[in-house]
């Protein structure tokens, strides 16, 4: 245990180094590309004060100055504003490298989910997805959602029951899990405020798994208690991922979990029969095909952190 503080100190020191490097800019003296030191009052490499030509003061000395003394017409006289306006002529490759390769990398996605289409009971909760990219555009994976402590019965339900004396069967969720395929058909980049560039991709995801649900007793809450039961659930969705680095991204996903839900029996006629109200088989009513559409907002971490391109640019 004695070595742990030393290790942490070393790590902390290493963390501090990049912060200093980040603050470095091209015009700092140490940043001279050739590694030579630049005097404090000298203009750094690449920066030219307005209207000045490098070496102009030294024209009587050596180098360019010699040429100017011998033949003033041959003396280089560049208009740097015009030069700057010229095309850079930079090399543009027919196929640019993708910013972040996904192939043979794991993706860990912790996220928070919230219901988009259930006005009666909201089912928020944390989730975790793990994907492995077989190719750069196709992944297999799994995800898990945990809802149990977070189900929120809307006050709107009570209003309907009070005003219209109509009970709406309600359902709460416990957990959901699925095996999925992810396909990434679209990628691109955005320039933010015309200044910085970030990369993004869009994906579709689909799979099969289970979701554990139970009815919230509304029709006869005095007698009925329900246990959570898992049901077969299919899912399909689309997602959007914004890369901050080559291994760290933010995600926004909309996923529809489709399953056949067992609802509470809303037949109030049996409530007058003291035997029937205790019969658990009569607590459940019709099955209902449910589309639980949820938004999932989170982050994506790609492992390993680094990768190598197969070909140069």
């Amino acid at each position: 245990m004695k070595k742990r503080p030393i290790g942490l100190l070393v790590a902390a020191a290493l963390c501090v180094c990049p912060a200093a490097a980040l603050a470095q800019t091209a015009d700092e003296p140490e940043a001279a590309a050739d590694g030579e030191e630049v005097a404090g009052d000298e203009v750094p490499d690449g920066e030219i004060p307005d209207g000045e030509i490098p070496g102009e003061e030294d024209l009587g000395g050596t180098g360019l100055g010699d040429i100017c003394q011998i033949d003033p017409e041959a003396c280089p006289n560049l208009d740097f504003d015009k030069e700057a306006a010229k095309d850079l002529g930079e090399q543009i490759y027919a196929v640019q490298q993708l910013y972040a390769l996904r192939v043979r990398r794991f993706e860990v996605q912790p996220y928070w989910a919230t219901s988009l289409n259930d006005q009666f009971v909201n089912h928020p909760g944390p989730g975790l997805a793990l994907n492995y990219y077989i190719t750069n555009v196709l992944a297999v994976g799994a995800n898990f959602n945990y809802y149990r402590p977070f189900n929120a019965d809307s006050s709107f339900n009570a209003q309907v029951r009070r005003a219209a004396r109509v009970g709406v069967p309600l359902t709460e969720y416990d957990w959901g899990a699925a095996l999925n395929f992810t396909y990434v058909p679209a990628y691109g980049k955005f320039a933010g405020f015309g200044d910085f560039i970030f990369h993004y991709d869009a994906y579709v995801v689909g799979g099969v798994g289970a979701i554990s649900t139970r009815p919230i007793p509304v029709i006869d809450p005095d007698n009925r208690t329900f246990d959570f039961e898992p049901k077969l659930a299919f899912n399909a969705g689309i997602g959007f991922r914004v890369f901050f680095t080559r291994w760290f991204a933010a995600i926004l996903e909309v996923r529809d979990y489709i399953f056949s839900d067992r609802l509470e029996n809303d037949d109030t006629a049996i409530l007058n029969d003291p035997v029937a109200v205790q019969d658990k088989d009569r607590w459940f009513g019709d099955n209902s095909l449910t589309n639980a559409v949820q938004a999932q907002v989170g982050i994506a971490i790609f492992l390993p952190f680094s990768f190598e391109y197969r070909l140069p640019k």
Partner: protein, 300 residues
């Protein structure tokens, strides 16, 4: 055995921390290299940018779909008209009218129950009986036709400002390439709403009378904001997707929900403005955008 596990855990922790620090260092070195020696060092982020918006009018016929509706879904047909002062800022107007209004499953369910109750009530009356308990308890809230008393959004008009901070491109199936932008907008919306008219037995307008369940129109003011994507298919056309928030209070069911009891949280046998609940109305919009003049400028 326990000592070995502890030792392994310790090494793992130190190694993991150092590894994280090293990975952070490597990331910084990479950024520095690009900044100092890359061929595009000092160059602007985007050159020869197609200025799809600057100095152009945008006319975008649009269809909007309301989300998370309690009793009635609305499909609004309308349009957005913008003038783009710069490539990143526009002033304009969005508007639409409720072309299609559809009942939710809950409305159909309440309607069925209500129809059943009214049949039973009619039979009781024919037999010389009085109204049932259900009928008496819901008399203020349930009219002859529930689906005719629920609130609706009839039209919306919103002057708004649009900022376009993000411009980019998208590759689809590595085959189709589109220019895109992501924009944010905000404004003040004038919303035409229909909801159950006010009634008050104290003013001679009993809330159980059939005519009290008729709806009347009013105009609500609400902030509106959202974000959207444009996908440019050619020099003067784009496909747009937009999410919009339109929060304001309204009485969606025509019920007497509030006004009585502590903090006015309980019914007061009257239907009025107190019965409106704050609702975060949301909608998704799909549009097809036209830009005029048809030719865009290109930046340096």
């Amino acid at each position: 055995m326990r000592k070995t596990t502890k030792k392994t855990m310790r090494r793992l922790l130190v190694g993991l921390t150092a590894g994280l620090a090293l990975s952070a260092t490597a990331e910084t070195a990479q950024a520095q290299e690009i900044l100092l020696t890359g061929p595009l060092a000092g160059a602007p982020a985007v050159r020869k940018l197609r200025l799809y918006r600057e100095g152009r009018f945008e006319v975008a016929p649009a269809i909007s779909f309301t989300l998370l509706d309690e009793y009635q879904r609305t499909i609004l047909a309308g349009a957005r008209i913008n003038y783009n002062l710069t490539d990143w800022f526009a002033v304009g107007l969005w508007g639409g009218f409720g072309a299609l209004q559809l009942n939710t499953g809950l409305t159909d369910r309440v309607q069925d129950v209500n129809d059943g109750r009214r049949e039973i009530e009619a039979a009781r009356r024919a037999a010389g009986g009085g109204p049932s308990v259900s009928s008496r308890l819901t008399g203020v809230n349930m009219g002859p036709s529930f689906e005719d008393q629920v609130g609706s959004i009839d039209w919306v008009a919103s002057p708004q400002l649009t900022a376009v901070p993000f411009r980019g491109k998208l590759a689809l199936f590595q085959n189709v390439y589109l220019d895109t932008d992501l924009y944010f907008f905000g404004g003040l919306a004038f919303v035409g709403v229909s909801e159950r008219q006010e009634c008050d037995p104290g003013e001679g307008k009993p809330c159980t009378a059939e005519e009290s369940f008729e709806r009347e129109s009013r105009m609500a003011l609400a902030p509106t904001f959202g974000l959207g994507f444009s996908f440019y298919v050619n020099k003067w056309n784009a496909i747009g997707f937009e999410w919009r928030g339109l929060p304001f209070a309204r009485n969606t069911g025509g019920f007497d929900n509030h006004g009585g009891g502590p903090d006015s949280k309980f019914p007061d046998q009257r239907v009025n403005a107190d019965d409106r609940d704050f609702k975060f109305n949301q909608m998704l919009t799909i549009s097809y955008n036209f830009y005029f003049p048809q030719q865009y400028r290109v930046s340096e």
